[in-house]
Amino acid sequence: MTVVYTLVLVMLTAAAALTLWRLLQGPTTLDRIAALDVFVVLIVAAAAVYAAIYSDGSNIPLLAAVALIALVGSATAARLVERWERHR
């Protein structure tokens, strides 16, 4: 199982690196918002793998909270961008 955990974590890390590249590259603010959203999903997935490795479910309620907070953040930022562009 250790091999599987390592493989999954390596894949998630590679995905996070690609997402970070898009986050830094842009080109628009909305691209960055989408990239950040993916990043949050990857963090949730990695934290769940951690819970499986150590058979420790104590951080799993936090994952539910993070999944909900991601909606608030991304939706608010997207609406804000919409307003910026309109007043330009």
Partner: protein, 155 residues
């Protein structure tokens, strides 16, 4: 349960988690490689949700019941919120002009916004308004969409 029980659970869990990790990786690859924002939104929504779902399923096989039931809640939130985020970002991109309207095959939002702006212009210049305008703006939502069209770049 014999010794095969835990082994089967391990194999199922490993397969699910590997498939989920691969799906997440492919989604991130699409986020980097795809050419424009609407295409990238596809890559951010579907492979990521599928990947998270598979990884959490694989993890849930290994954990006790109460933790697994919380994981179901995480999956539920993700499945509910991912389309909402994608839709809000996409609409915001469209209205702020980040999406090239010429590249769209079907453009329902654009047609609706064009009809709104024609009706608003007709009612402002005293022409008989088309049935969509209906005199006074019916609420904050409709007046906001009219403003949005007026702020759009003119040709």
């Amino acid at each position: 349960m014999g010794p095969t029980g835990p082994m089967i659970a391990d194999v199922v869990s490993a397969a699910l988690m590997l498939a989920g990790g691969l799906s997440c990786l492919l989604g991130a690859l699409g986020l980097v490689r795809l050419p424009d924002l609407p295409a990238r939104l596809q890559a951010t929504t579907k492979p990521q949700t599928l990947g998270l779902l598979l990884i959490l399923l694989g993890v849930a096989v290994n954990l006790e019941f109460e933790n697994s039931s919380t994981l179901v809640l995480v999956v539920l939130f993700q499945v509910l919120t991912a389309p909402v985020i994608s839709q809000v970002v996409g609409r915001s991109a469209y209205r702020s002009g980040a999406i090239d309207r010429g590249s769209l095959v079907v453009d329902d939002l654009g047609e609706a916004m064009d009809a709104d702006s024609r009706a608003a212009r007709a009612s402002r210049t005293g022409q008989p308004p088309s049935p969509r305008a209906g005199g006074e703006p019916s609420g904050p939502e409709s007046s906001r969409s009219v403003d949005g069209v007026d702020g759009a770049p003119e040709r």
